[in-house]
Amino acid sequence: MTEEDSSAKMSEDVKRYLKLDPRSAAASEPPPAAALANKSRNFKSFEPPCPDHVLENVLENVLQFLTSRCDRNAVSLVCKSWWRVESQTRFEVFIGNCYSLSPARLTHRFKRVRSLVLKGKPRFADFNLMPPNWGAQFAPWVVATAKAYPWLEKVHLKRMLVTDDDLALLADSFPGFKDLTLVCCEGFGTSGIAVVANKCRQLRVLDLLESEVTDDEVDWISCFPAGETHLESLSFDCVESPINFKALEGLVVRSPFLKKLRTNRFVSLEELHRLMVRAPQLTSLGTGSFSPDNVPQGAQEPDYAAAFRACKSISCLSGFRELTPEYLPAISPVCANLTSLNFSYANISPDMLKPIIRNCHNIRVFWALDSICDEGLQAVAATCKELRELRVFPFDPREDSEGPISGVGLQAISEGCRKLESILYFCQRMTNGAVTAMSENCPQLTVFRLCIMGRHRPDHVTGKPMDDGFGAIVKNCKKLTRLAVSGLLTDEAFSYIGEYGKLIRTLSVAFAGNSDKALRYVLEGCPKLQKLEIRDSPFGDAGLRSGMHRYCNMRFVWLSSCALSRGCCRDVAHALPNVVVEVFGSDDDYDDTVIVDYVETMYLYRSLDGPRKDAPKFVTIL
């Protein structure tokens, strides 16, 4: 909310109680009766408001400035009056688990929602640990919000099931709709996208990120209406189907506000060049395949470096889906301005990386494949002093593949990039020494996710468990909020986490620990823990019971392939009425009539509205 908006609101103070926020594109409708019932004054006759309501009035205007949901949650707990006022002034609602409440509860409490963030499936669903059709449908939400918030502008979904019908309803119901972001979603296709493109005339953002989009063979790019668009961001790098390039070019030409464009791998280097020439104002570019269509014939080849030079504002580069290495140097003109570089789909060797990275002094976010090797990481460490976030993914994501990176690279990064805040690092071997070095060199770390791909791998130099390394991380990185552990870990590692991990909100565990004590350390020791996901670890009923006092204050707990019994899960469900306990297997071959005591997967989460009604057959809610 900007200051201009607030002052506009203040002068419209009186009118506000009679109709909607005047800034929305939607028509004015009287606010729902519930909001009016709180106010006994009648503005039409211009009577001054009574004193009790002056406070609410003032409060409303003050609360416009509160955007953080934590602050708003705190405000809403002061008293009933503050709760009411906060409900009326919350325009952005964040729902971390779509099953923690029903859509009806949302629309009942918050009357003026303009922006909705919804998250569905838990993260382990990304790794095939959850059967398909488990849930997290967007449908009930779009139906409810279509009725309650015709002025809705923004929808941001993560790990939800979205159908083409849902998208069609969205496009039909919200005339002022501006921003659709779908992250890790599925269930829809290019026909759904086409409807959004066509009907949402105020659209500014259409970002499809890491989602599965079915190829319905619809030319969705051509479905954007003619004339100038409001598009500021268009990301379709995850759409695995060809697009009508001519239409895309035409769209870019008539989108003067376009700042972010992320194309898919069906856009060749020549085509990318054409787009860049037409949109030199871009700040963020997803480069598509970065491979030419045709074998170049001498002087006919476009001057790619010139195109990059002309795009003076580019600060974020990604794509490179089918990189032809000879063309990589073309990006050199923008390197000095880059703050974000994503090479994580390109098989880039250290020699390819070094000439590029040595100019990237301003990089803050760097994603790459481990093909850059320890040597590449050393080059990053030497230059990228402003690095805040590093992610290194495996080129060959198997347990026993060659591991081109190790503790050497990790240590180099820790020594060179002292401002590092977030790291995701996949490797085959690691040492406690390197992890400890990072804990000492990078005190700003808030996210530390290390994945040693071989299960139960100890320190490859000393042969000892990785307890000390992770212990150093939780002890020294005092701002740590997210931790993912791996390698050979005993209960001792978890005792460190419980003792020092006082700010940890998310913890991810796989193939670790010796006994229930480990789980107990964490549940008893980490007061801020919200999201706990554990797989294939020897934690059982005693461990689960030790967290009974915590589950109402957590977003979710996931335990799969551990040692839980159905009886214990049922006990938890009965003891905690506000917590939903789901139990299911990893495939749906389970015979309904046979009750197996062993629990393959337990997923529990707090919920205000009880168990969901849309659970598939293979899910048992205890």
Binding site: F124, F127, L129, P242, R321, L369
Partner: protein
């Protein structure tokens, strides 16, 4: 580097495979599939791992579901590149006049012209007419052409199949008037 999940390898080494399970029980080995295997820590496994190498000391492990935790979207993107770089398949672009976008097909999938034609017809929803050596394609507005290594545009079907597959760089299904000048004999 041997591929994990190679079925023959696993069958041979099954007798010495170290795993947790009752004797006589069978484990399904489904690479990256919906296998339900759990791997609980096992002392003997640990000993072997602490030597740092798994290739020589123990048989290749069957894939565990969802491990390492890399999203399948990412895995698939990189896998596509691996296949193409290994020279599998011969992908060429196919455009049709009037259609909004290109498709890509793998020529190595087909053994002769009629198969290719049928596939193109299905893909672009048209029909190609009768081919004759002397007169080219008759009975349809659409004519399949291709660009060969020398940059010349030729009628599909004029040269023997193998020669076509090795020299074809891209396909274009031309329409109507542009077709003149092609297919006029040898």
């Amino acid at each position: 580097m041997e591929k994990v999940g190679d079925y023959d390898e696993l069958v041979n080494l099954k007798a010495t495979e170290l795993r947790l399970g009752l004797p006589g029980t069978e484990e399904e080995t489904v690479p990256c599939g919906k296998s339900n295997k759990r791997a609980l820590p096992d002392d003997t496994e640990k000993e072997i791992e602490s030597t740092g190498k798994t290739e020589t000391a123990s048989p290749p492990k069957a894939q565990i579901v969802g491990w390492p935790p890399v999203r399948s979207y990412r895995k698939n993107s990189i896998q596509t590149k691996k296949n193409e770089s290994e020279g599998q398949g011969n992908y060429v672009k196919v455009s049709m006049d009037g259609a909004p976008y290109l498709r890509k097909i793998d020529l190595t999938v087909y053994k002769k012209y009629p198969e290719l034609m049928k596939s193109l017809e299905n893909m672009f929803k048209f029909s190609v007419g009768e081919y004759s050596e002397r007169e080219g394609y008759k009975g349809s507005d659409f004519v399949p052409t291709y660009e060969d290594k020398d940059g010349d545009w030729m009628l599909v079907g004029d040269v023997p199949w193998e020669m076509f597959v090795s020299s074809c760089k891209r396909l274009r299904i031309m329409k109507g008037s542009e077709v003149k000048g092609l297919g006029c004999g040898v």
